[in-house]
């Protein structure tokens, strides 16, 4: 399916990156920082200037559809374009001529029919929009949280819609705990009372890593404090897993403070959680997301089929809060070393 379609589109639009170049030129004119403008200009000279800006073929048009105007979408989108073109050029692949168009979903004009080789959506809103309005295209939806109610609707559609989830596999967080210290044997987790997936996945992963998992089910939002208190006395470390019922803006402060008062370190699932006071966390940075999208684009352009319709995060980042570590009497670890240790373990036992 996608392979045939991809090949067909690939031949039809093999040389065009003009739109991206044309799109980005105003960006250069409006750069406020001369340094950044210089870098971008250099980028264009090396990669894009040979391209005819007046050309407007759709052979390799890639639309990147953003859910909103927040920094994260922009960050991922621009990293996708930069890294894809650079990668393809360095590897002499046809995707070096891809023509990127970055549009926010709110300003996308449905009437303006275009023949895109691929539509990359960033965020749920853009994924839903593409699913409803751009059904006959190949859609690569990234920056999607895996556990969301709208996910059901999204996955129910056709075979040309691929999903790249931003959630880090839960075993990576447990692996981070493992490489942080052998001291952490008993890992506590708060999960919603009706959850089965997280508990099962974590239990399996904990078993493989020889960690004891202490799962406390939270009956209701009012019971978060009591459930946490029950847990903290019996664990070495607390693992936060994505669950808006438990970890949200109004609860994170109390969870962090309660754990800290009892000198129990916490592993977060986002960089914001770590910056707020968790000891460390494995998460998908915008760059990580972008690199996985790039890999998928390369795959599609090369005519290979995508390995899976739904993919979990391939790349990951680690953040370590040195201030919290120091206060807890925990050795300050280098993020690079931690990541290297994790990659070693993942290579040994993926």
């Amino acid at each position: 399916m996608s392979r045939t379609q991809a090949n067909r589109l690939l031949y039809r639009h093999s040389r065009e990156v003009a739109r991206f170049a044309c799109s980005i030129l105003p960006f250069i004119r409006h750069q406020e920082k001369p340094g950044a403008a210089l870098i971008t200009t250099t980028f264009l000279i090396f990669f894009l200037l040979p391209i005819n800006c007046s050309a407007n073929s759709h052979v390799s048009n890639i639309l990147i559809l953003l859910s909103g105007n927040e920094d994260v979408y922009l960050d991922v989108a621009t990293t996708i374009t930069n890294s894809t073109i650079k990668y393809c050029r360095n590897h002499g692949q046809v995707c070096q001529n891809a023509n990127f168009e970055i549009v926010q979903v709110a300003s996308y004009d449905i009437q303006r029919e275009k023949d895109y080789f691929l539509i990359v959506t960033l965020g749920i809103k853009a994924a839903e929009f593409a699913q409803h309005n751009l059904k006959d295209k190949i859609i690569l939806s990234a920056l999607l949280p895996q556990s969301n109610s709208r996910h059901e609707k999204l996955t129910a559609t056709g075979l040309n819609h691929f999903f790249l989830y931003l959630d880090q596999p839960l075993h990576r967080s447990l692996l981070l705990i493992k490489v942080l210290s052998d001291r952490f044997k008993s890992v506590g987790v708060l999960i919603s009372k009706d959850d089965t997936v997280i508990a099962h996945t974590l239990s399996e992963a904990a078993g493989r890593l020889d960690l004891d998992l202490d799962i406390q089910r939270v009956e209701s939002k009012d019971q978060i404090g009591a459930s946490l208190n029950n847990l903290l006395d019996d664990i070495d470390i607390l693992l936060a897993v994505p669950d808006t019922n438990i970890h949200n803006r109004s609860t994170v402060s109390n969870i962090l403070l309660s754990a800290y008062r009892k000198r129990i370190p916490l592993i977060g699932f986002s960089s914001a959680y770590v910056k707020a006071g968790a000891l460390a966390g494995v998460y998908s940075s915008p760059e990580d997301i972008a690199l996985q999208v790039r890999d998928s684009i390369v795959t599609l352009f090369s005519g290979r089929s995508m390995p899976k319709m739904e993919q979990t995060a391939d790349y990951f980042s680690i953040l370590f809060n040195a201030d919290v570590a120091r206060s807890l009497g925990f050795p300050v670890e280098s993020v690079n070393k931690l990541k290297a240790k994790m990659l070693n373990r993942l290579n040994d036992d993926p």
Partner: protein, 732 residues
């Protein structure tokens, strides 16, 4: 770099993008599913530099941290008993409920050399000095952590943070949600009951707790106690950045106390204590926060003692028992007057009445009002500063102690600054000072400087020096304690009187230490070598030259007979001066090993070499010195806890405490070494709606121990026998 790029992109009017706006708030509105913003939106920084406490590896002084696991394993049933764990600490129970706690000894029943804080509130009694341990309204179950700073630390905690500081941190109500009941029965007809309820209502967390305790104290003494307290703690969060913490408590205790001597007969003390504390913390930014705390402590002891009438006392004199009761009073009068007076004449000539004596050794009312503002900031990377200022008003009222009806008060103003600076990635410099101005006293400056050098993440060496002062108590500065005859207007004999303007006593300590923190093995240990010098020690001595009231007599013969009568009670009077000097060189070691979450091993050891003197008496300018400091400070202390939790919720722990032979100052005696072995067996049952925790606590299994009193002359001994307690806690 990434952040910088983000900011750049924010300002790009990218033609194919709609106008940019700031990021949306991290939302929890979607409870059934979440969007990618859940992972990428910022969260408020909770544990920032201004909220994080200093790690033990970076503290400039030796510190023992007693946490919940140690408390649970210790088999202690009260706070003073728990403090036996800290190396160099000496704990004495002068009665069943009356405790005194000191670091490096040299303290009587009312150890005045320790600062004790409960959630930032000093519980040191400014009037009589010491800590009213039995009035603290504190359950061991609510203690989160006790930080025992061994050595002076006035730079951070103010004067009276002299020999050491005990910083008790309690759980927030939010961390103790639910309802709990606890009951303990055991040795000495002990019947302890505690109940607590904690809940959260929106942004308000609160806890109400109450306790009743009664027991009969030591076996051979009339020192039973009945104490009850009620308290409330509230924690109100106003938005993300403001917290209002309140604490209120009221305590009432009755304690039988006394010795078999005439003037210390058994009596019942009626103690009342209440406190109110409010603290507002505002989080200005991750690197900037401040807090304002105000508290008031009230402490009163009703201890008015009325002896039998004068004639009855004379009749009871042991040396006169061979005489017929009807002639004893006349015989006594003839004895002290050279045969000139019979008893009636004695009363007439010396303006006496055959009345009881009235007096109070410690009856008082004490107030402490304290206001402090503290600002914590991180002006540049690697430098944290906490500075602030405060004011305090201490007030004491006691006709019996001060011989005046109006209160005696003392104000204090203070300014402090402490800094933690990472001079290099491996070097932490702690520097600080406290400037204090007490009313009618010279300004005091208490500095502290320490350098901690991390050889690697696990090994730290430190060197530090600090100076602290202990301000004389209001009592020591103003005491005029007398024995009265019949009524409060008739002063018969001066017992203790203040005669000079006292200076604060001073301590200087330098220490070098090693702290090993091997996280992988759950092991940390601290080794500390130190030299302490105590100077200008406020010493009590008996001055035979101090006159007693002359009762308006002018006749030399009558005055000489009055002198004889006074000698029957007490010649001269006790008073205070700055005199003693003590030097201590020592080594202290502690080890905390927790190989798994279920195991705990703690060891503490202290060895001291003490030299110093004490002023004993002064008569017509003559005084004698006793080089006896080494007798009053135990040479060695040792403590151990070991515990293990099994799979089925059963926990077994044992504790051992040792204190060398020592002579307790004040009313205390020389006691042989204290060697105590405890065992605690605990079983936790998790039922569907509640948790039940059953403990069997066995104390002092090893041998009988003498504590504080060991006087064969008056046949008074505090003897620790084998003790057993059964404790049941139910949490719902």
């Amino acid at each position: 770099m990434r952040n910088r790029r983000h900011r750049t992109f924010r300002h790009i009017p990218f033609v194919i993008l709609v106008t940019l706006s700031s990021s949306k708030a991290y939302s929890d509105a979607d409870s059934t599913g979440f969007s990618e913003s859940y992972f990428y939106d910022d969260l408020p920084v909770v544990l920032s530099a201004s909220r994080l406490s200093q790690s033990q590896a970076n503290t400039p002084t030796a510190m023992t941290v007693i946490d919940k696991k140690m408390i649970q394993a210790s088999a202690a049933l009260n706070l003073p008993d728990l403090l036996r764990l800290a190396p160099g600490f000496t704990i004495g129970f002068y009665s069943g409920a009356g405790a005194t706690v000191t670091y490096h000894g040299h303290a009587d029943e009312y150890a005045r050399d320790m600062q004790v804080l409960i959630d930032g509130r000093s519980v040191y009694d400014p009037v009589y000095g010491g800590i009213p341990w039995s009035e603290l309204s504190l359950s061991l179950d609510e203690i989160l952590r006790i930080e025992v700073i061994r050595g002076p630390n006035a730079a951070a905690y103010g004067s009276n943070s002299y020999a050491g500081v005990i910083n008790v941190v309690t759980d927030h109500p939010r961390d103790l949600l639910g309802t709990s009941f606890s009951t303990t029965i055991g040795y000495g007809k002990a019947r302890y009951f505690e109940a607590a309820h904690a809940a959260s209502v929106k942004n308000f967390d609160y806890r109400i707790a109450t306790s009743y305790k009664e027991d009969e104290g030591f076996d051979d003494r009339d020192d039973s106690s009945r104490a009850r307290w009620l308290k409330f703690d509230g924690d109100y969060r106003i938005g993300m950045d403001n917290t209002l913490r309140t604490s209120l408590g009221v305590v009432h205790g009755n304690y039988d106390e006394g010795l078999s001597t005439l003037l210390q007969k058994e009596r019942e003390l009626d103690n009342r204590y209440n406190y109110q504390s409010i603290e507002w913390s505002r989080f200005l930014s991750p690197a900037n926060s401040f807090s304002v705390q105000f508290y008031h402590n009230y402490y009163s002891i009703y201890d008015l003692y009325r002896t039998p009438r004068l004639s009855e006392q004379i009749i009871a004199i042991e040396e006169l028992q061979s005489l017929d009761e009807s002639v004893r009073t006349d015989y006594f009068a003839g004895l002290i007057s050279g045969g000139a007076y019979d008893f009636d004449a004695l009363l007439d000539e010396l303006n006496l009445t055959d009345s009881p004596f009235l007096f109070s050794w410690i009856g008082l009312k004490s107030h402490r009002y304290d206001l402090e503002l503290e600002h914590t900031l991180e002006p540049v990377d690697d430098l944290r500063i906490a500075w602030g200022f405060g004011a305090r008003h201490d007030r004491g009222e006691s006709y019996w102690l001060f011989h005046r009806k109006d209160p005696v008060s003392r104000d204090l103003y203070r300014l402090f600054l402490n800094a933690e600076w990472y001079a290099t990635p491996n070097t932490v410099i702690n520097a600080g000072g406290m400037l204090e101005k007490f009313e009618d006293k010279e300004r005091l400056f208490s500095p502290r400087l320490g350098i901690n050098y991390h050889l690697d993440p696990s090994n730290t060496i430190r060197i530090s020096g600090s100076r602290s002062y202990r301000m004389p108590t209001i009592y020591e500065d103003n005491v005029n304690l007398a024995v009265y005859l019949g009524s409060a207007d008739d002063e018969l004999n001066t017992w203790i009187v203040s005669t000079e303007d006292l200076d604060p006593q001073r301590i200087d300590r330098i220490e070098t230490g090693y702290f090993g923190n091997f996280t992988e093995y759950g092991l940390n240990f601290d080794l500390c070598l130190f030299h302490e010098q105590y100077t200008d020690i406020i010493d009590q001595y008996r001055d035979f030259g101090l006159p007693d009231p002359d009762r308006g007599l002018t006749d030399p013969f009558a005055l000489s007979v009055l002198d004889e009568l006074h000698s029957f009670l007490q010649s001269g009077a006790f008073t205070y001066t700055n005199f003693g000097t003590v030097e201590i060189d020592g080594v202290e070691f502690e080890l905390d090993y927790r190989p798994t979450i279920r195991d705990i091993l703690f060891l503490g050891f202290s060895y001291l070499h003490v030299s110093g003197n004490e002023l004993k008496r002064l008569k017509k300018g003559d005084y004698s010195i006793k080089e006896n400091a080494q007798d009053k400070i135990p040479k060695r202390t040792f403590s151990l806890i070991a515990g293990h939790s099994f799979d089925d919720g059963f926990t077994m722990s044992t504790a051992y405490y040792f204190t060398d032979e020592m002579a307790w100052p004040g009313e205390g005696d020389t006691v042989p070494n204290y060697s105590r072995w405890d065992i605690k067996l605990n079983k936790k049952l998790n039922l569907s709606n509640s948790d039940i925790d059953i403990s069997l606590v066995l104390q002092n299994l090893h041998k009988d121990n003498f504590d504080f009193y060991h006087d064969k002359r008056i046949n008074e001994h505090n003897i620790w026998k084998k003790r057993a307690y059964l404790q049941v806690k139910i949490s719902i």
